[in-house]
């Protein structure tokens, strides 16, 4: 046996040892590099490859009426997209057999669900691109039907959308939301801070099969849903009022019409109807001038409904009583040569102030109203709220226009007594009658009851104290006079409701055209019921009525809406009688 020299063995051991040590050192080096030095970067790349960040959308709050009926809510809608490059025939099992469905057939099926034509769909899916939108904002029913078709090259992109379940009911008030979720008009815009939530964000890791890796979810920020906006309106009454106003606008061939129902003792707006009305579900179909709310945004010369205001100022200052006499001619020649005439031909009528209102005599109110100086009358116009926005502060609300009394010319000084030379919004005019119905206290109209957060807390809009415009006794005398208008007036009588005592006043205002007035009118009727203890004020206005040029065109709508209000709120018929006030002498 030949033994290896000891020196060789030691040498070999040394070589192997060095090799092993080098290998170990190399491994250790790589280990240290992987585990310690580069670990952060490697982990980062790895996490980036697996992690997904997505927005957790906050749900926009609902808009509800005074009874909790949902007027606007958020829903999920879907954009239907395709990858044209993947479009191909598919195989479907029909009656246990594999059947090939051609691209044409698939397109026909899609078109049928989406309400499109097959040609439209074929055009959208032509080409070799990775993306093509077939239809946007498809509802859940169509989405569900499409899914059942099981077409692999269709993709669905869910997104939040706004639904107005009752369509145009209160549509002009609520406004609408753009396709990108931006509020564009109305309460949606004004109360966006209440309705809009705050989107959250979530990051998690997922495997190659797209399934989330357990316990990897990291919610960076939870979404905070929007709050609920509660309105004062009654949606049933709102619908009925809109029906009446739309029907009347159609019958009168008018440009537009408004109808307001106000709770006299609280200032709550129970209905604010307009025609044309806007359906927020399809707002892009409407003319831009019809998209807002004319009740708050349009001002016009109100005409004779302002005579009530002048009469109340006369009584409040002690310059007249409901029985104060005057002789009202058909035409009144003013010292500077101008003439004021009544709407109908008559002789020198011996009327009381009540009779002046009953007959809506321009000459009569100017003769009696002249007992008050310009400043006093201007002060009353201001105290009644003219020239100022209401506390509703509706988006784009108009303040109307009353020029300072010193700037009134001689004619404006006179005609302002019967509603010319001043501009008011329908809501301002209705609130004059609310003041009279509420013992002379003008309240601010209330459209929004509050913003209710998820914890049930209701944040009400800042309230404003009522303003005592006229004395309670003046308010009562004015109501007594207005009751005679409905009891005895030629036009007023047509506003009467069987079984109820109603007080109100008509208005037939000429409309400015150039430097003068045109032949079309803004016709109104504003009243309250029951007159013995007024609970509700109804105000209707129709602008540029072409078929009826007097307030006779407005009273049927007032009557229908007021009757519905009395039915809705179960107001028992009146039992007493109107005050005994002379109208003539």
């Amino acid at each position: 046996m030949r033994y290896m020299p000891l020196g060789d063995t030691l040498k070999r051991i040394l070589i192997y040892s060095i090799a092993i040590v080098v290998a170990v050192v190399l491994f250790l080096y790589k280990l240290v590099m992987f585990q310690l030095v580069d670990a952060g970067a490697i982990n980062k790349v790895s996490t980036q490859n697996r992690s997904v960040t997505r927005t957790l959308p906050a749900v926009r709050g609902q808009i509800v009426d005074g009874q909790g009926v949902v007027l606007a809510r958020s829903v999920t809608k879907y954009d239907i997209n395709a990858a044209p490059i993947n479009v191909a025939p598919i195989t479907r099992v029909v009656n246990g057999q594999n059947v090939e469905i051609t691209v044409d057939q698939q397109a026909a099926e899609i078109a049928d669900v989406l309400g499109m034509t097959q040609e439209d769909v074929m055009l959208k899916i032509a080409g070799k691109s990775q993306y093509s939108n077939i239809k946007k904002n498809v509802d859940a029913a169509a989405y569900s039907d499409l899914q059942k078709l099981n077409i692999p090259w269709l993709y669905y992109d869910p997104k939040q959308s706004r639904l107005y379940p009752n369509g145009a009911v209160a549509g002009n008030l609520m406004g609408f939301i753009g396709q990108d979720g931006t509020p564009l008009a109305g309460l949606e815009l004004e109360y966006n801070s209440c309705l809009a939530g705050v989107d959250g964000q979530e990051t998690y890791e997922r495997g190659t099969d797209g399934i989330r890796i357990p316990s990897s979810a990291v919610i960076a920020q939870a979404p905070k849903n929007g709050s609920k906006l509660e309105l004062t309106i009654n949606s049933d009454l709102q619908y009925y009022s809109q029906q009446v106003i739309a029907n009347t606008v159609r019958n009168l061939n008018a440009d537009w019409g408004t109808g307001l129902v106000i709770e006299a003792k609280t200032g709550k707006i129970l209905a604010a109807a307009e025609a044309p009305s806007v359906d927020g579900n399809a707002f892009w179909k409407y003319r831009s001038q019809d998209l807002g709310s004319r009740i708050f945004q349009s001002s016009f010369e109100p005409g004779s409904t302002v005579k009530t205001l002048t009469a109340s100022a006369l009584i409040d200052t002690g310059k007249a009583t409901p029985a104060t006499r005057t002789i009202a001619p058909y035409s009144l020649r003013l010292p500077w040569g101008s003439t004021i005439s009544d709407s109908h031909l008559h002789g020198n009528d011996k009327l009381t102030l009540t009779g002046v209102l009953r007959d809506s005599s321009n000459t009569g109110i100017v003769k009696l109203g002249s007992k008050l100086d310009s400043q006093t009358r201007w002060n009353y116009l201001q105290k009644y709220g003219f020239g100022q926005k209401t506390a509703v502060n509706f988006e784009g609300e108009a303040s109307g226009a009353i020029h300072e009394w010193r700037k009134w010319d001689l004619m404006t000084d006179k005609v302002s007594m019967f509603g010319q030379g001043i501009a008011v919004t329908p809501i301002q005019m209705a609130m004059v009658y609310q003041t009279i119905a509420n013992k002379g206290v003008r309240l601010q109209p209330k459209l929004v009851a509050g913003c209710r957060s998820a914890d049930g807390k209701l944040v009400q809009p800042p309230g404003t104290a009522g303003v005592q415009v006229i004395k309670p006794s003046t308010a009562q005398s004015t109501i007594d006079m207005l009751e005679k208008v409905v009891e005895q007036g030629g036009i007023g009588r047509t506003a009467g409701i069987a079984g109820y005592r109603v007080a109100g006043k008509s208005g037939t205002a000429q409309i400015k055209q150039g430097s003068g007035y045109g032949y079309l009118h803004a016709i109104s009727f504003i009243g309250m019921a029951p007159a013995e203890d007024p609970q509700y004020v109804v105000a209707v206005t129709f602008y540029k009525s072409r078929n009826v040029s007097t307030s006779l065109g407005a009273t049927p709508a007032f009557k229908q809406i007021m009757a519905q209000v009395l039915r809705t709120y179960r107001v028992p018929p009146s039992t007493g009688k109107s005050a005994n006030i002379p109208t003539t002498w």
């Binding site: 949902v70 829903v75 999920t76 509802d139 859940a140 029913a141 989405y143 569900s144 639904l163 107005y164 379940p165 009752n166 369509g167 145009a168 009911v169 399934i211 989330r212 890796i213 357990p214 316990s215 949606s235 049933d236 619908y239 009925y240 809109q242 029906q243 009446v244 739309a246 029907n247 159609r250 025609a275 009305s277 359906d279 579900n281 399809a282 069987a498 079984g499 229908q560 009757a563 519905q564 009395l566 039915r567 179960r570 028992p572 018929p573 039992t575």
Partner: protein, 211 residues
């Protein structure tokens, strides 16, 4: 060497019982030394195994979760579809149209009965289409996804009316039959009487002669 051997023997003899004791003690220590790493290893393996099983279960849970989320999405979609249908059917526009289609008219002259003095307030008057209806729906609603099937309601009402008429016609024949089957009729009467007595004894009210 021999000295050593003798000494060794002598030690072995003199310490024989202690040697056994020491051996036993040494073997216990050895078994302890052996079992600790084994137990640790087994524990480690058990923990690893358990974590593997748990990992697999959690992974399976993730798949279940994904599946349940999909189911949840499908149910949410169905709920959304049904909710919009209910909203459409209960919307003012649909109800007004349905009421109009069925010939309903609102009475514009309500009558009230005041309980305090039992006075009737208002004059009862029939409702007329000319005063109680406005017009067909003029308030647009693009979201109306379902409408009341008025034709179906009319058909159902007609069928019910026909069934009721047929029942009325059949009633005399039924009476004749019950006379023939006297026992059955008597039983029913007995039940009615006993029921009536019970009512009277309970509330002092007379039993209603009709059902």
């Amino acid at each position: 060497m021999s000295t050593l051997r003798v000494a060794g023997t002598a030690r072995r003899i003199s310490q024989a019982p202690r040697t056994n004791f020491l051996e036993i003690a040494r073997s216990q220590v050895a078994s302890r030394r052996f079992s600790a790493p084994v137990i640790a290893l087994i524990g480690l393996l058990a923990i690893q195994g358990l974590s593997l099983v748990l990992g697999a279960l959690i992974s399976q849970g993730a798949y279940n979760l994904a599946h349940l989320k999909q189911t949840n999405h499908e149910i949410s979609t169905s709920t959304e579809i049904l909710a919009s249908q209910v909203e459409s059917l209960s919307s003012e526009a649909n109800l007004a149209d349905a009421a109009h289609g069925l010939g309903m008219v609102a009475n514009t002259t309500p009558v009230f009965l005041r309980l305090a003095d039992q006075k009737v307030i208002g004059k009862p008057t029939a409702a007329y289409a000319s005063t109680g209806t406005v017009a067909r729906n003029l308030v647009p609603n693009a979201a109306l996804s379902a409408k009341t099937n008025i034709a179906q309601i009319k058909l159902n009402a007609a069928a019910q009316a026909a069934a009721l008429a047929a029942k009325k016609l059949a009633t005399p024949a039924k009476v004749a039959t019950s006379f023939v089957a006297g026992t059955v009729q008597n039983t029913n009467v007995a039940k009615q009487v006993s029921g009536g007595t019970q009512l009277a004894s309970n509330g002092g009210l007379k039993a209603s002669p009709t059902h």
